[in-house]
Assembly symmetry: D2
Homo-oligomer: 380 residues x 4
């Protein structure tokens, strides 16, 4: 694989490298790690141990040069880990060059770009994965299974929450590059906190419940003085099949590290999951004690057991969950290399469909918030 | 003290008895425990060990008979633990008979009644306590102190939640009296779940933050088919001083027992509390590890330390918190008996002010929900 | 009831008062609260609200005076809450005066006294309860039930632990009376930490497992320089039916409040309980997820359900558990008053049998520790 | 690197592969994965994606063939992941062939072999790492730092525990190879549970406290009928500097997954850590609330911060901790390749010293247990 972005100062670049390689199916062999050619080379050799001549000056360069290699050495796909505004042009270029694409979320800067990107993908006949990595946790798979099989009964109520505290102050005024681009509309998009982490909560909710969030009533707030995008928000949800819910996102919840939690209550039972202790899933029932299912533990079902790497009690974490998306993506890549159409692959990873949904969610919450929290539909 | 309501099948009657007597300052000596005279006597003697001649046939009877006793033997105040629709007439009668009143929440059936009751109280010059008992937990006092002293900085974000699962099915179709009246508009009032437990979350939020919830955007739902009142709801909050928040209440969150939680994030720190493990308060800070303050434990402040009965690690629970309200009420009663004006007492318990606020909250959420979740003010 | 001890500065006196009165069956009406007559009167009136003429100068005085009252007004039993060395003489005098006795643990200063006390009790034909209060927690009852019914299979392994940190320093050099007598061999007995809290862990283990601890290999330590009794200790256990275990006790585990925990593993399942969060019982199974049973919650059995006062999720604590012993004791007192022989009563509270066992445990661990941790039997 | 052992059915082989490669410094390129040549080839190609001609029939073969390759392609070190009885002959052969060695724990089958192995290592001048992987957790590093800097004061008390439930039944009678060799004295050594997991608890205790466990009083038990080695055991500890402690290990604690916990109490503070939620470290203090330090979180110190890969709240797990040992080992290998003497390297990973200590521990606990739990020294 070849990476675009992820140079020095990047948090997510190394994450993608480790996640991609964890299961031994993928190797990072090339990259355009920075728009600054010198820094790209330095990052490639120092951070990723690449040979110098595959550390490219630009992504265009990488695509061109790699295509000139024989197909055995050439990268099979591109991982895009840049700020949001670059996702679309890079993804389009990669697809047009014939590469499959893994792209960080949210899919694009604008909804229109996401729709256009979907078009590009369809035309290219290539695979596209969006790294909504939290879907890779075994206990999320277990929760989804419990909903899907009807064990919980019809879903009534959802509490989805993703709160952090790292942007409580104007971190973007420091040297923190992460803070800089994530709070800048021209690089992050129409929403700040809601785009950066609210979309994860949105996507995870739909992933686990199998329902669609149909309407939102949102109240976005900017607490840090002078910041241009929301850093906090609360959203009432109407879901398909008459379910209701709330989605909260914040980056000013001081002292909270990475508080993604999901709780779902159906007619017969409920599930509660918290990303910071991801190997436990609380399952509540009507007439018996609640139980705690554990990654790889007794009584878990095949959909979670099959994506667990270690015996129960040997905690798996963020990287392992992330790696599942890459593993599943790699399997699809192999299928396509063996002749299967990309459109026919059984894709067990988030795709551009999730990407478009996420951009529609951002658009709807921003619109609702600008209109006194008016209920606003999320178009299918 | 004399009790009205609380006869056989009552959950809250015995709670009030234990809470009132726990600190050794109050004794239950009389009661009109049921509108059925026979049942009142049975309840009084069997459940509460009273002598037969102080188990009255009706509250009117009790007020009259007790007034005929000498003031040393006579009850000093009345505790009202009936369904909501009876709070107002009984409280008014008690006040007019010259008794102080402790009343279960919500204050009354309608907002108008609450306003009228306030008028009655003022005119009677008596004390009135509303048992928003969760304010009696030491760690709630600690949280309030941390906000009040500015340790957390200006409050930005609140998550208040009170969810239960016991009404997931049509429990009111069984013999469960609790379920029957709590889901009946003529006895419970305009809101079901929001009135029964949402008001606790509302009151606790205002109590701890010292802020007012100024506007709500609410979405109430009735999930159990045929039920007349809401059994679930989510409310966006705008608080004074530009804080924001969410309040969730549900009685269909299957398997959840009594999930009252409060989380408050300020500019400098945050607090997180959960009623089911009430002796711990998580305190989060910007630049250091989070800490867990414990009832009676090292480092807690006077407002919580002074309301703790046991050494740290000896868990206090629901009854002890409830008892604090009675203890504080009893102190005020003594002050009044010594000649202080009721209006001049330093009342460390919820009063009719909280009661009126609670009724305004109910009115506002019901109105908002009926108007497509339109932002609706809660009048001061 | 009449109390001996429990005057100003006492932690456990008020606990006994609240616990005794909580269920409305018992009233504290008399006491000899201090060996100093003046302080006894002050404590009685200020702390307990008693009338002056039932605040006695000495326990002898109380027994004599109370006997001169008519049987309806007279105390029915005596609660002894003094330092350990006074338990025996007071209990004997009370029994000989014809009163039933509730006594704090450990039963006596020495094993011989405990044996003698048992003799006194048998001869007096009176009831005697030892307040190993932790047996009163509903989830302890649930655990015992799971063992008793064989749900966990034959018990193999026990971890009993009671650790605190409050004696990490030489607290006895301050004004802390609790620390003073508990570290003084002439008042506390042969063991310090092991006698004070180790006996609770010992008794709870036998209570829940239904097994006898037959042999101990103990290593007691005194960490605080100059202290005369152990403040820390670890004990290997051999139990009946070939079970094994460890019992740890410490009062120098800095920062730990009141860490009594019990874990029991059988051939088919296990239970884990922690006193500081007493309303949860973890139950582990061989082939399914672990479950968390909750006080009053779904699926709990009659032995715990019947001793629960509140709906699930309304936390009960230390006082409520303590109160159960008094409630059960009161029921036995009533039975005896109705003519039943004390020896024939179904006593659902710890008795002098537990007291003698506890003293044998103390003797055995002290002996073992003095003999290089040699395995030492606990005689039946 | 080349692996010996780790073929089909192995749990730990894939763990070593992922751990070794996680930081991008090491690649598995060769292996002798089974004593059965056919299975070795299958495992190498299927499980590890190796080219066929570097899947060797035996470790002797691997060492010989690899030496014939040029030094750039040749493996730099050997990872031994076989049952215990093969550690010594393979490690010796590897060292004599000039390879550095990473070896799973315990070091060898017998103490004598461990002593001999140390001799081999010294003579060969090569690096040797023993994968006591739990030392790689950031919060273990934080705990060690708090002890080392004196923040906790002089250590007084240690509770080390490693309990599991997977051998509650005679799992070795099924097809479970893990259970078969781990319960077989000829392949596992003198101790079962104590050797397999007790040694981890032992090593971790010494690692974090910086103290030596000097004497043990042990009681080992075999609960599963017919099993030849201990499956449960409790050990009293005397540590250097007059500290005391208990070490518990069990593989029959039904339902417990992988319960490694460590608690250390000093004169000023204490730490509590649990492997199953490894990203939290409870730190207790004398006079202030306890705090929870988190992997990568606010206020943690350099020794833990520097070994954290992700921002706080992105959980790291077992594999990441394991990988740290490989990363540190790789750094030492590079140093040696640059000319540094192995004996002069700053080795931040467990070495043969830990291995010899571990074997002495096994010997001491077995001896003590056979002698009525007599205190038995662990020779330096």
């Amino acid at each position: 694989m070849g990476m675009v972005g992820g140079g020095e100062g990047s948090f997510i670049g190394p994450v993608h490298r480790i996640a991609a390689e964890l299961d031994g199916k993928i190797e990072l062999v090339a990259g355009a790690f920075s728009s600054n050619p010198e820094r790209s080379k330095q990052s490639g050799t120092n951070m990723y141990g690449l040979v110098l001549d595959r550390c490219y000056s630009s992504y265009g360069d990488m695509f061109e040069q790699e295509l000139s290699l024989d197909s055995a050495s050439r990268i099979d796909f591109v991982a895009i880990v840049t700020p949001n505004h670059l996702h679309f042009p890079i993804a389009r270029a990669a697809l047009e060059s014939g590469f499959h694409v893994v792209c960080d979320k949210p899919a694009t800067l604008t909804l229109q770009e996401a729709v256009d990107l979907k078009e590009c993908i369809d035309q290219a006949g290539k695979l596209f994965a969006l790294t909504h990595n939290y879907t890779g946790y075994p206990m999320i798979r277990e929760a989804k299974h419990l909903v899907q099989t009807g064990a919980l009964g019809r879903v009534r109520r959802v509490n989805a929450e993703y709160i952090q505290g790292w942007l409580a102050d104007l971190e973007e005024k420091t040297q923190n590059k992460q803070a800089q681009w994530r709070t800048d509309p021209s690089r992050a998009g129409a929403a700040g906190c809601m785009g950066d982490i609210g979309t994860h909560a949105f996507q995870l909710t739909e992933f686990v419940t199998g329902l669609e969030i149909e309407e939102v009533s949102a109240d976005l707030t900017t607490f840090a003085p002078g910041r241009k995008l929301d850093d906090d928000g609360n959203v009432l949800l109407k879901l398909s099949n008459n379910a209701k819910g709330v989605l909260c996102a914040s980056q000013v919840a001081v002292g909270v590290e990475n508080g993604l939690t999901l709780r779902i209550y159906g007619e017969e039972g409920g599930v509660e999951w918290s990303q910071m202790e991801p190997n436990s899933l609380i399952v509540r029932w009507k007439d018996r004690p609640y139980e705690v299912r554990r990654t790889g533990g007794a009584g878990v079902h095949q959909p979670s057991a099959s994506v667990t790497r270690l015996p129960a009690g040997h905690p798996e974490g963020f990287l392992e969950a992330f790696a599942l998306l890459y593993r599943n993506f790699a399997e699809s890549v192999v299928q396509v290399q063996k002749g299967k159409k990309a459109s026919k692959c059984d894709k067990d990873f988030p795709t551009i469909e999730d990407g478009v949904r996420g951009m529609r969610f951002i658009e709807a919450v921003v619109t609702s918030s600008e209109n006194d929290s008016q209920w606003t539909p999320i178009v299918r």
